[in-house]
Amino acid sequence: MKLTNLLTSAAMALGLATAAVAEDPTKVGFVYVGPVGDGGWTYEHDQGRKAVVAEFGDKVETVYVENVAEGPDAERVITQMALQGADLIFTTSFGYMDPTNNVAAKFPDVKFEHATGYKRNTENVSTYSARFYEGRAVQGTIAGHMTESNIVGYIGSYPIPEVIRGINSAYIHAKKVNPDVEFKIVWAFTWFDPAKEADAAKVLIEQGADVILQHTDSTAPQAAAQAAGNVITFGQASDMAEYGPKPRVSSIIDDWAPYYIARTKAVMDGTWTSTDTWDGIGAGMVGIGEISDAVPAEVKAEALALKAALADGSYHAFTGPITKQDGSAWLADGETADDGTLAGMNFYVEGIEGDIPQ
């Protein structure tokens, strides 16, 4: 008797479970390059994921995988997500570009969104990125004013257009307010490795840099700057406010939430199409974190004015005259850079020393 009861209830539970599945929430997958607690890049993508959950509640189911190495391993993880029934998959690092497109070719019914890349081989792949270089222009302005040694240290991750754009933009605007400024660049060849990032920051500080800009994701350079004393830094990808008001004097904040919500909605409504989105300060995808009191009021005002000009489109971060590092002309007076050149940028502007690693 008892056994029959048990079996009946089990069968009922199974029936209920099937009914629940039948409602079929939209399944959204996220592939992260670092841990969600990195306090930078991946943290902000995960905030975007949480915003999607908050917006749609039971109608979505999100899954994510952290610390996915760029390359073949990524392809395995993305395939796994697609096999598990994801309707929409966000792959959030440049190095997932080929894996994303490879998997997308095999799953035509699944929508793929690749961050910071440019390949859309099939109809079910979109790319999206933010114009971080606009934020770099604001940072460069503050850096140029604030540096006393006239040496700005820059921790690069990989020599890809995204990072090179940031270096050029920061340099152009630092140079504009401080003609004597010099950039020292160290390539860490990682997006997230606190030990390497800390070492790089320490070396730059030892060589006289009193401003550290980073294009890597952890807060380790902030900690190194704090230990060194009289050095300022900027939060990268996330606000990193716990290191304010000094060394962290401002930050670039990525805000992916509106985009993630819009794209999820598009999949739900069946209106999703392959697009290429590249938004900046104006659209709110790039935010400038609170400029702290360690920055003099007039510098802060200048930085905010630049931010406003970038936001309303009256000023472009790459406005000529700009000459390339090798001395050849790039932009004539008043000319602005086109998106094609920016997307594939593989040269330094005049004045930056050293070579881009190949």
């Binding site: 841990p35 969600v36 607690g37 990195d38 306090g39 943290y43 610390n67 240290g153 020292k184 660049i185 160290v186 390539w187 060849f189 997230f192 490795d193 606190p194 030990a195 800390a198 070492d199 790089a200 320490k202 070396v203 730059l204 030892e206 060589q207 006289g208 952890s218 807060t219 380790a220 900690a223 230990a227 716990e242 020393e353 050293g354 070579d355 690693p357």
Partner: protein
């Protein structure tokens, strides 16, 4: 390219910091190997020390307590190795390797909630007058306490092995455990103590990375330092002062290559990145060309009945 931007004093000061985790791990392993035990689990014990020390320092607010916890955690993990090899007579190489894999996995689990957390800072020693001396000040008197502990440990181990009765017993056990047993020494007990010491040292080395050198917690943050320590002990011919030399050489080249990069030297970054490993191994191989050899009983299990 501007080599004048490199400040030799700061360079030496920071190479000492870069070398200290290696120093801790290697001197611990040296004692273990002198006792005739080969523990390949250094990396695993280091990373467990790194997370245990980090977590304790964050929870209590005291970096010193963190180091104590790290030593404890490293020793605790090495107990597993001791049980496997000294009582269960398991193969030392296999046990050590599994210890490393286990440590890496366990630390990732323990560290889940500590990613991105800011640890309390360890104060640098600030000796009036001495710390302010030019050149000598930053190099000799401007560091944190643990760096001096590491150097003191090298000196202590050297003196212990060379001059003390304890050192003689340790070497006897490592060279010929049957003879040592016949003389009435407790081979297993001495080896277990050596393994525990090695575990505690590796734990300290790990915590030095997570609490001072970086300071932050990330999965797998020891990044192979444990393996370098193992190689260093061999190439240093089981001599404490050569371990110090090798560690400083490794730390030195690591720091110099970053300095060269920042100074804009036109050498491809990949060559610079591999240089610490190459140069350290090269120098120590040349040094180890003398007669000194491994403890004769290294890696061999002992059982009184045999």
């Amino acid at each position: 390219m501007d080599l004048s931007a490199i400040n030799p004093v700061l360079l030496i000061a920071s190479l000492m910091v870069a070398a200290t985790p290696l120093l801790f791990a290697a001197i611990g392993e040296l004692v273990v190997e002198k006792a005739g035990v080969l523990n390949l689990g250094v990396e695993g014990m280091m990373i467990i020390g790194a997370i245990a020390g980090f977590a304790t320092a964050v929870e209590t607010g005291s970096p010193l307590l963190g180091f104590v916890a790290a030593a404890g955690a490293g020793a605790l993990l090495s107990v597993l190795f001791a049980i496997l090899t000294q009582f269960a007579q398991a193969n030392q190489v296999a046990s050590g390797l599994s210890l490393t894999l286990f440590g890496l996995g366990l630390s990732a689990l323990m560290g889940q909630s500590y990613v991105g957390v800011k640890p309390p800072q360890m104060e640098k020693l600030n000796i009036p007058v001495l710390s302010d001396l030019p050149v000598v000040g930053p190099i000799l008197f401007g560091h944190d306490l643990m760096l001096y502990v590491a150097i003191a440990l090298i000196a202590a181990v050297w003196a212990m092995i060379k001059f003390s009765r304890l050192g003689l017993v340790l070497r006897a056990v490592g060279e010929n455990h049957d003879a040592a047993h016949a003389l009435g020494y407790k081979v297993v007990r001495i080896r277990i103590l050596a393994i525990l010491f090695g575990g505690a040292c590796a734990g300290l080395g790990g915590a030095y990375i997570s609490l001072i050198r970086v300071p932050q917690w990330t999965e797998g943050m020891t990044a192979g330092i444990g393996w370098i320590a193992l190689a260093l002990v061999v190439f240093a011919s089981w001599k404490p002062w050569r371990v110090l030399l090798g560690a400083y050489l490794f730390g030195g080249v690591t720091v110099v290559q970053l300095n060269l990069q920042a100074a804009g030297v036109a050498i491809p970054v990949e060559y610079l990145a591999m240089s610490p490993y190459l140069i350290t191994i090269l120098v120590l191989v040349i040094l180890s060309a003398d007669k000194s050899s491994a403890p004769a009983a290294l890696g061999r299990n002992f059982h009184a009945s045999r």
